[in-house]
Amino acid sequence: MSAPIILPDFRNTPTIDQVGVEERAARFTTRSIKKSSKLQGLSMALNMIDLTTLEGKDTEGKVKQMCYKAAHLHDVIPGLPTVAAVCVYPSMVKIAKDALKGTNVKVASVATAFPSGQSSHEVKITDTKFAVANGADEIDMVISRGEFLSGNYNFVFDEIASIKEACGKARLKVIFETGELSTLDNVRRASEIAMYAGADFIKTSTGKISPAATMPVTLVMLEAIRDYYYKTGRMVGMKPAGGISTAKSALHYLVMLRETLGGAWLSNEWFRFGASSLANDVLMQIAKETTGVYQSIDYFSKD
C-alpha cells in the first residue's frame, strides 16, 4: 500500500508569477509541428475531444445526432479515431448512453447545479447520483466559486470529496471556472484542493463564462498536476474547456502537455479538450494532410 497522503495547508499554496507563466505558454506556440508529427498530433487531439452540447434547448434529437457524429467523425477517411466522450446535461445521459451503445465513446455529464453551482448540498448529490444511475461514465462537477473566493477552502474540499463519493465508479472532473477565479494563484490553489479531495481530472471552465480555457491557466494547472504527482505518485487528468476551436491551438496545448508532464499523459485517459467546434477544424486539417488540399467546410458534417 502507498503511504497516506498528507494534506497541505491550502492557504499556503505555491505562488505563481503571471508574467512568467504567460511567457512560457507563448513559447510552446513557437514549436513547429509539421508533416508526420502534425498528423499524429491531430489524430491524438481528435481522440481527446469531449464533444459537448450544454444548452437549455438541447433535445433528444440534438443529442442523438451529436452522438452519431462522436462515433463517426468523418467516415470518408478510414482509420480515424472517435472522440473520447460526449458531454451532456444529466437529463440527456440516458439518451446519449443508448445512442453510443457498442462504441468506445464515453458519456460525461455535468452535475452539481451546473454551471453556477448555486444550490444545496442535497441537490448536488442527487444531481450527481441521477447522472451516474443513468449510466454516466464521467461526472463534470463545478466548485462553489463563492465559497472559494470567501476563503472557505474546507467547504470546497469537502464538497468535492462528497461528490467523488457519490460518483462511485464514474470518474470525476472538477471544473473551477477559472474565468471567475481572477488570479493564477487562485487557479493553483483550486487545483490543489481538488486533487487532494480526490479529483480524477481538473477542468478549467464551464464554457459559459469568458475567458474560458487559456494556455496560461492550463499551464498553471498542468504544473499543479506535476507537483501533485511528484508528491503522491497519483496521475490526475487535465481538461481545458471552452475557447479551443482550431487545430492549431489544439496542437499548442498538446505541445504544452508533452513538455510539462511527458508522454504518460498523452492519451484521452489523462487529457481532454472540452469543445463543440474543434473536431471539424481538426478533421479539415487531417483531410488536408492526407489529400494535400483544403476542402470546403461543407464536406464536414455539423452535428
Binding site: P14, I16, G20, T30, S32, I33, Y230, R258, A264
Partner: protein, 489 residues
C-alpha cells in the same frame, strides 16, 4: 493504472516526436567572398588576404572574409574622418531619418538576416528570428528618435559629437552588438569604424550592404573585418576619438593599457559570472524557466548569463528536480530547425574551452549532470550541463565558461547569498526570484551588478541601460545613458 514507484518520475521520451522543421535557406543572398566596406564601397584589402568563415553546426565553409591590416584600418579611419565633417553638421532631424531608414530596412530583410546569423554563428533560428534581429532593428528605431532630441537628453548642456568611433564587437550577438554600437554613435553625430568578430562577420557585412542601400553618406559607417590584429590596429590608430569594445575581460584590459595616455574615450563591456538567486518563496516553476533562459539562452554565450545558480537550501531539491525535468525537454541540435532550443557552440576553439571546464569541474569534485539528449556527430555541440554541489572555491564557479554550463550552490540566509553573489571579480548582471517586493529592492541595492532582473532573466530592451561593475567593464549602452559615451558635454 497509475504507476507505483518510490519516486514518481516523468518520462519525456514519447512516440510523438517533432518532425524536423527546417527554416528555408534558399532565399538568402551571400557572396563567395567579402571585401572591406570603406567609404561606402566594398574594396579589396591591402593585405590581399582572405580567411574562411564556417558554419559551426556543419563545419562547412560559408564564405571568405577579407583580413584588414594597419593600412586598411588607416584608410577606414580617414574615410570616417572625412565623413565626420558633413555628418556632424547636417541637421539632427536628417540624421534621424537615415537611422530610421536603416531600422526599417533591417525589418524588411529580417528573414535573411536571421538565417545568416544562425548559419554563421550557430544560434537557434528561433532566437535569431525572435530576439536578435528584431532587437537590432529596435535599437536603431530607438536611437533614431534621440537624434534630434539630444538637448533634452542633456538639459542645460550642449552635447557635441566626439568624432570617429572605433567599435569592436563580439561573436555572440553579431548583428545586435553592431546595432548597439552603431545606432547611438550615429544619433550623436559620430562616424564609425566597426569590426565584427572573425567567426561571425557575415551579418555585419550584410548590414554594410543595407547601409549602402539606405543612402547613408559614404564613410559614415565603415565595416572592416579581421581578427585580433585588426582590432589592435583600430585601438592604436591615433585619429580615433573613442573606442567601444564588447568582449573578453583579458582583451579589455589590453585595450585600456594600449590607450592609456591618449585622450580616447573608452567603454568596455566585458565578461560576467552572474548570480541567479532563487528564494524559497519564489514562484518556482517560473524560476526554473528563468534558470533555463539565464544559462541556456544562446548556448550560454551571453556575457550576462545567469551562470551561478544560488538556491535557498529548503527548496533546492525540488528546484533541481524540476530543472532536470525541464532540461529533458530542451531540443539540442541543428540550429536551423525551428524547434531547436540549443544550437551549436560558436567555434571549435570555444567548444574546447567549454570541454576543458567540464574536466576541471569534475576534477574539482562538483557533481556533473547532463540531459539525456543526443548531439549531432558533426559540428560543435555541448549538452546542457549542471555542476551540482559546487562551491565558491571551485574554478567553474569563479571563471566565465561562456557555454551551457550552470553551477549550483545552495544558501541559507539572505546575508550569505549577497556575500557570495558579490564575491567575484565580475559585476555585470544578477537575477532575483521571490514573491516579496521588499526582498527584491533590498537585493537590488546590495548586489554589485549593473543589471538586476527580478522574477525574469535575460530581458533586453533598447530603452534600458546595460553595463557592468568591476571587471565587467564600464560605461552604459542602451537607453539615455547609452548616448553619454558618444558626446562631449
Amino acid at each position: 493504472m497509475t504507476k507505483k514507484t518510490k519516486q514518481p518520475t516523468l518520462d519525456f521520451k514519447t512516440d510523438w516526436a517533432y518532425a524536423p522543421a527546417l527554416e528555408d535557406t534558399k532565399h538568402i543572398n551571400l557572396k563567395k567572398q567579402y571585401d572591406l566596406f570603406i567609404d561606402g564601397k566594398f574594396v579589396k584589402p591591402n593585405s590581399k588576404k582572405h580567411f574562411a568563415t564556417y558554419n559551426p553546426a556543419t563545419e562547412e565553409k560559408i564564405a571568405e572574409i577579407a583580413e584588414a591590416n594597419e593600412k586598411d584600418v588607416d584608410k577606414a579611419v580617414k574615410a570616417a574622418r572625412k565623413a565626420f565633417d558633413k555628418w556632424s553638421k547636417i541637421s539632427a532631424k536628417e540624421r534621424g531619418k537615415y537611422i530610421y531608414r536603416i531600422a526599417r530596412l533591417i525589418q524588411e530583410r529580417a528573414r535573411e538576416f536571421a538565417v545568416i546569423e544562425t548559419m554563421d554563428g550557430g544560434k537557434p533560428i528561433r532566437e535569431s528570428r525572435d530576439i536578435d534581429i528584431p532587437l537590432a532593428a529596435n535599437h536603431f528605431f530607438y536611437y533614431a528618435g534621440w537624434a534630434d532630441k539630444l538637448e533634452y537628453a542633456f538639459p542645460d548642456r550642449t552635447p557635441k559629437s566626439l568624432g570617429v568611433a572605433g567599435q569592436i564587437i563580439p561573436w555572440n550577438f553579431p548583428l545586435l552588438m553592431a546595432a548597439w554600437k552603431i545606432a547611438p554613435a550615429l544619433a550623436t553625430g559620430n562616424t564609425v569604424v566597426l569590426k565584427p568578430a572573425e567567426t561571425t562577420s557575415l551579418t555585419a557585412l550584410k548590414l554594410a550592404d543595407l547601409i549602402q542601400d539606405s543612402g547613408l553618406p559614404d564613410g559614415v559607417v565603415n565595416i572592416i573585418t579581421g581578427a585580433g590584429h585588426t582590432g589592435a590596429a583600430i585601438v592604436n590608430h591615433p585619429d580615433i576619438n573613442k573606442i567601444a569594445f564588447t568582449g573578453s575581460t583579458d582583451v579589455g584590459k589590453m585595450i585600456q593599457k594600449a590607450i592609456a595616455g591618449t585622450d580616447k574615450k573608452l567603454t568596455l563591456e566585458l565578461g560576467g559570472k552572474a548570480a541567479n538567486i532563487i528564494f524559497d518563496d519564489a514562484p518556482l516553476d517560473q524560476a526554473v524557466e528563468g534558470i533555463v533562459n539565464g544559462i541556456f539562452f544562446n548556448q550560454g554565450h551571453v556575457c550576462c548569463a545567469g551562470s551561478r545558480l544560488f538556491v535557498q537550501e529548503n527548496v533546492a531539491d525540488i528546484v533541481i528536480r524540476k530543472l532536470k525535468d525541464r532540461m529533458e525537454t530542451l531540443v539540442v541540435g541543428n540550429p536551423m530547425d525551428k524547434n531547436t532550443d540549443i544550437g551549436a557552440i560558436n567555434s571549435k576553439e570555444q567548444l574546447l574551452k567549454i570541454n576543458n571546464y567540464l574536466k576541471i569541474g569534475k576534477a574539482e569534485g562538483a557533481d556533473i549532470y547532463q540531459s539525456s539528449c543526443g548531439i549531432p556527430s558533426k559540428g560543435y555541440f555541448c549538452k546542457p550541463t549542471l555542476f551540482l554541489n559546487a562551491s565558491q572555491s571551485h574554478r567553474v564557479v569563479q571563471e566565465e565558461i561562456f557555454g551551457p554550463v550552470l553551477t549550483i550552490q545552495t544558501f541559507r540566509t539572505i546575508e550569505e547569498v549577497i556575500e557570495k553573489a558579490n564575491n567575484i571579480p565580475y559585476g555585470l548582471s544578477a537575477g532575483v526570484w521571490t514573491d516579496k517586493g521588499s526582498k527584491i529592492f533590498n537585493l537590488t541595492s546590495k548586489l554589485r551588478a549593473g543589471v538586476v532582473w527580478a522574477n525574469t532573466y535575460n530581458k533586453f530592451d533598447p530603452t534600458s541601460p546595460f553595463g557592468g561593475y568591476k571587471e565587467s567593464g564600464f560605461g552604459r549602452e542602451g537607453g539615455l545613458h547609452g548616448l553619454m559615451p558618444y558626446v562631449r558635454l
